[in-house]
Amino acid sequence: AQSVTQLDSHVSVSEGTPVLLRCNYSSSYSPSLFWYVQHPNKGLQLLLKYTSAATLVKGINGFEAEFKKSETSFHLTKPSAHMSDAAEYFCVVSVYSGGYNKLIFGAGTRLAVHP
């Protein structure tokens, strides 16, 4: 079965330092993977997606993620954290079944950014 595991429930960084949010996936075939961000009282927003093209995927707001098949990982990174990056981040895998796609969300990682 397809699934994702987010390895940290909380991550805390200082403003201006790098961000690393870790995600491992389980899939019997080449997966489609996503990162979504959820700010308080706002809807989920797509950060980036991997669909079997380039393994290094660039998203919005300076975020990027690298698909590593050998490690079954899809970690999210950003070189320099900003206060506005504080939010909940979800790693997501798409499952294809019966002619349609379904998103399976990880449990989420809450990112705190300190001045």
Binding site: G98, G99, Y100, N101, L103, G108
Partner: protein, 114 residues
């Protein structure tokens, strides 16, 4: 472009009462999704519509939950009767079509069952 609209934003009810949530997707989006997000967890798909037809409702507790999408536009999700474990945020999302098209999410309805 207007986003996905949901109402109400917050609802508090007692167990065994009924409640309904409303969703207006982005204009022209054929696919509509309802998710349940329990505190501390990621969203879980409850039901997926393609136009006004149900594509997937395998995770919908059909003894108490129901959903419809009349005319392939707005959708309502109903819970009757509610249980304490139904306390969650209910998210509506829409996408242009099925497949790997981006899903756009509404702000959600936070339900508290006491």
């Amino acid at each position: 472009e207007a986003g996905v609209a949901q109402s109400p934003r917050y609802k508090i009810i007692e167990k065994r009462q009924s409640v309904a949530f409303w969703c207006n997707p982005i204009s022209g989006h054929a696919t509509l999704y309802w998710y349940q997000q329990i505190l501390g967890q990621g969203p879980k798909l409850l039901i997926q519509f393609q136009n006004n037809g149900v594509v997937d409702d395998s995770q919908l507790p059909k003894d108490r939950f129901s959903a419809e999408r009349l005319k392939g536009v707005d959708s309502t999700l109903k819970i009757q009767p509610a249980k304490l474990e139904d306390s969650a945020v209910y998210l509506c999302a829409s996408s242009l079509q099925r497949g790997l098209h981006e899903q756009y999410f509404g702000p959600g309805t936070r339900l508290t069952v006491t």
